[in-house]
């Protein structure tokens, strides 16, 4: 082997043996270090994965959603409003929508009841039937062919037969959905004909969405127009905010670790100082001693970082971030079973590496350099 490489290998051998002389201290440091990296990496991987999943799925959402407003509160759209939007230039299709929320005491959960659009015959639900999301099926222990009973806030009773359970792969967007036929929906919520929850607009040219929304707001000034870009921004902000909040809370843990690492590395024990003194006395150069301590620090921080990141990957993508579920669920009882698509953001991991490895290495360098530069006789005494 090349002499320079062999020299580095010998330094590495010595560093490993030196670490092995204090196994409890060094193993404990690796475990704590890896735990901090695990928590931070889990938050980053989970946040990035769910943001990506949500934005990919919702990219197919409606270009514009029009909602009637009164006193800053949602109002129902009327048929006349729908007709006014139909006449807009640039709008390819106007889809009035019927959907609403229902608190189901039997499942102790909120459902979103919806009527599939009339323009998609494949999604149409027959009268007396229902298509449910996997979360609803879990909450009410439903299977295809079983009955689903719902009670409205005014006491109206609806009996349906489940004809389909939406695939688990769509759970992120459909977990709480109950799709019904239109007359069942109107009878259940006591809605007359000619009123709708809101209106979805399909715009022919995506570049004209903003213009169409502006023209629509002139035609219907009492309406609110939410574009697909607004929805994407909301989802992005939602998850970025949560991820930022979680990281801010974990910054306390990171700071505590930096203090621990600094305390461990900066105050060399008498034994460590004596070791450095002996090495200098037998002919080691200051640069060799610093290189040795850098190898020691690099081994501890490098392995801890790798262990933390690998464990975080398994936690987020194999175990669906189970540790965060209680925090993310809040009071939701219909939390979807997430199977996030794994991916690595190299920039985020590199940032995490810099935030965790560099402070530790920096904490080692100064005291080692100071001790290694001192007269060996004075150090050993």
């Amino acid at each position: 082997m090349h002499p320079a490489l062999e020299r580095r290998r010998h330094l590495l051998d010595f560093a490993v043996r030196s670490l092995a002389r204090r196994p409890t201290k060094n193993l404990g440091l690796v475990v704590v270090y890896a735990l901090v990296v695990f928590l931070l990496a889990s938050v980053m991987l989970f946040g990035a994965a769910i943001r990506r999943e949500a934005s990919t799925m919702l990219a197919q959402g409606p270009e514009i959603t029009a909602q009637a407003m009164v006193m800053g509160r949602h109002d129902l759209a009327r048929t006349a409003d729908v007709e006014a939007l139909r006449g807009l230039r640039g709008v390819r299709r106007v889809e009035p929508r019927l959907w609403g929320y229902l608190w189901d005491s039997a499942g102790a959960a909120n459902y979103t009841l919806m009527v599939p659009p009339a323009s998609d015959p494949a999604r149409r639900v027959a009268k007396g039937k229902a298509v449910v999301g996997e979360g609803v099926a879990r909450a009410r222990k439903l299977a295809v062919g079983k009955m689903l009973f719902l009670v409205s806030p005014s006491g109206r009773f609806l009996r349906t037969t489940v004809t389909e359970i939406l695939p688990a792969s769509t759970a992120l967007v459909s977990s709480d959905l109950v799709l019904l036929e239109e007359s069942d929906f109107r009878a259940f919520f006591e809605l007359p004909a000619g009123v709708w929850t809101d209106v979805a607009l399909v715009v022919a040219n995506p570049a004209e969405v903003k213009t169409v929304a502006e023209k629509a707001s002139l035609r219907l000034p009492g309406f609110r127009f939410v574009t697909r870009a607004d929805m994407a921004r909301t989802a992005e902000a939602l998850f970025s905010w949560r991820e930022g909040l979680a990281l801010a809370l974990l910054a306390g843990a990171l700071l505590a670790f930096v203090i621990l690492a600094f305390d461990k590395a900066s105050g060399l024990s008498a034994e460590e100082k004596r070791e450095i003194g002996i090495l200098k006395a037998i002919g080691w150069e200051t640069s060799d001693v610093i290189a040795l301590k850098l190898w020691e620090g690099g081994l501890v921080s490098g392995f801890a970082f790798l262990i933390g990141v690998v464990a975080a990957w398994g936690h987020v993508f194999l175990f669906s971030a189970g540790l965060f579920e209680p925090v993310l669920k809040g009071w939701s009882t219909l939390y979807p079973r997430l199977a996030l698509e794994p991916s690595i953001d190299a920039l985020e991991l590199a940032t995490l590496g810099v935030l965790t490895v560099v402070p530790y290495i920096a904490a080692i360098l100064v005291p080692v350099w100071r001790t290694a530069s001192t007269d060996p006789d004075a150090v050993m005494r």
Partner: protein, 115 residues
């Protein structure tokens, strides 16, 4: 008689060998996990199913936080939803505390100004 050092073969593996073996083991475990969670044709089909559903039903938000209407559909929530119990009511849903209120709501605006 002075003790002679053990031959290298009996002294155990070198530190550098141990470090390299540990690193290799970690990389193998990591690669195995990545392979176990890697994307395949089924995952691509699953993603397409979700996108088709979103397009067909014109869905606007993810169904993660079903506690309240402004946590279930934050992009479509109105100004009243966060204060539905009264103008000065405090946030009472855990998820609602973690939802950043949109600053720009057409038909209404949230503004903070110093007097």
């Amino acid at each position: 008689m002075t003790d002679r050092p053990l031959p290298r073969s009996l002294a155990g593996p070198r530190g550098s060998t141990l470090a390299a073996a540990t690193l290799a083991a970690l990389l193998v475990v990591g690669a195995a996990m990545v392979a176990a969670t890697g994307t395949d044709r089924h995952a691509a089909a699953d993603g397409a199913a979700a996108r088709d559903l979103v397009a067909a039903l014109a869905l606007s938000d993810v169904a993660l936080f079903t506690e309240g209407r402004y946590t279930r559909n934050p992009s479509l929530a109105d100004l009243h939803s966060a204060f539905q119990d009264g103008p000065g009511s405090l946030e009472h849903f855990p998820s609602g505390s973690l939802v950043l209120a949109p600053r720009d709501l057409p038909g209404g605006r949230l503004e903070a100004r110093e007097e």
